[in-house]
Amino acid sequence: MLEPVNVSLASLNLATLAPMLIAIVGALSMLVIDLVKGGLHKSLYVMVSLLFLLLDLGALVDFGGVFLKNGTVLGFFDVMLMDGIAILSQIIIVAGSMLFIPLALTSKRFHEYNYPEYFSLFLFMIAGFQFMVATDNLILVFVGLETASLALYTLIALHNRRKSFEAAVKYFTMGALAAGFYAFGAMILYAISGSVEINQIATILAEDHYSNIGYVLIAVSFMIAAFGFKLSMVPFHTWTPDVYEGSSAALAGYMSIVPKIAGFVVAMRLFEFLVHSGVVWLQVILYIGVVVTMTAANIWALVQTDVKRMLAYSSISHAGFVMAAILIGTTQANTGLFLYWALFSFTNLGAFTMLWVNRQKNLLPGQSSDHPYEKFSGMVKTMPMAAIMMGLFMLSLAGIPPFGLFWGKIYMIGSAVSAGYTLLALIMALNSAIAGYYYLKLIVFMFMKEPMVGYEGYYLMNASLSLKTIIGVAAVGTIFAVFAVNPLLEVITLFVYNSGY
């Protein structure tokens, strides 16, 4: 007979669930609101979402304090794991989401914002991501991942046009395949360790001295394939440009940041110990993966004709750049990962918001996508501020100092240097140069070409105060990043180091 299990409530550390629960409650409350009174304006839902996210953030910041005092907090039979990187990544997730959600307040009406469910799904998705990062249990990772993904597929499709359905279906199908990979990889890990918790797997593998190296490698192969999909590493990246193009610019910007950081954290948990245990194969694979992802994505970005697709490829390249941190595996590198991503989120969200601002509903004759380069030509003459903002984000993405991403870049490259990855550091640097070309291309269009006749009325169609505010926030974050870097760096280092990465 089974013994009854006695669990003290205190040992459960229910508080570890608080941040996610806030998001879930928020989502449910919106469903309820809609039930009570339908047809409410989207601004209400935006604000409610914002409110809950704020609470969520507050809870996380509070956790941050706790973490700094007491270290990692485990909860619910050690399923929940609130360590430094979990808190950090959740903060980035929630903060990124807070920057995203006001983008719903466009001056034009788009289909998805007509649904209260949209906002509800959005909060569920955030909860999913939060679960995903706040555990080292492969099962919860999987469930959280799927919760978030399923919500995300729906959010994409809700944009309600042919391309967005196509994007959603593509994303979904490939996601299903990736889920299969993940399950299979987890299965093999379970087979050789008898556990589905990463730290235990690590311990057992180490105790076995990696005697089942073949199994480990097979498992890692499947896991790389699964996370390669999530982090859009070449050749698992193929969904990225299509999905970005198909979804609204705002959501595309969001996708380039939040899901990826969640993926990075899991990848860190999963691969870091292998890298440290001297699994040469993984180092080689990651090395190749990082280099190929960075370079190939850059090269493809060069030939794009649509700005959003270009930014999609550029996001892939940035993700590849950051993947290097996992390969390098030092505290400095992992700190760099978070720093980079925090800075990247401001800049990239700003860039995508600029696209969102410029979104027009009907394509003009001869226009094949939402944001062709030609649309931006001569923008400095018609809308200097907008052009300068966009130029700013492009420069930051290209890594021109003193704008945000530069600091992330030098820190990342610096960590590669100090870990002895000289060649990698060089490749990272040179890739930034290649990337310079396509960012510059947009600047060239905006600042050096004559405005297109007939487009005038279509610029800034979608602008509204809230969008402009977001752009302003992103711009300020991008320009004055230099002053934020030091505090960020200190906090992140503390969090990362104390989490053992």
Binding site: L150, T154, A157, V169, T173, M187, G194
Partner: protein, 101 residues
């Protein structure tokens, strides 16, 4: 002729491969979704087997959640298919190439 874990793993691998072939081969989206189910099921067998051979319940747990996930995926996937079908009248993925390059 004792059936060992290896047998199950091999079986799982073979089924997974069949699933992969299906995923790659199918152009009809609905049938493609079938193949993704096969992938997950293949894994489930292995999980159950491992669970059995090492006497641990976690594997069964994993399998259980995988089934839940598969079910949810079907719901969302079908939903997506329905809107796509309503909009285009096709569920052939060769028709879905408006974005490329």
């Amino acid at each position: 002729m004792e059936i060992t874990l290896t047998h199950y793993l091999v079986l799982s691998a073979v089924l997974f491969a069949i699933g992969l072939i299906g995923v790659m081969r199918r152009k009809n989206l609905l049938l493609l979704f079938f193949a993704t189910e096969i992938l997950l099921n293949a894994t489930n067998i292995a999980f159950a087997a491992i669970s059995h051979y090492i006497g641990d319940l976690s594997g069964q747990m994993f399998a259980f959640f995988i089934i839940a996930i598969a079910a949810s995926e079907v719901a969302v996937g079908l939903g997506l298919l329905i809107v796509w079908y309503k909009r285009t009248g096709k569920i052939d993925l060769d028709q879905m190439t408006s974005m490329r390059g």
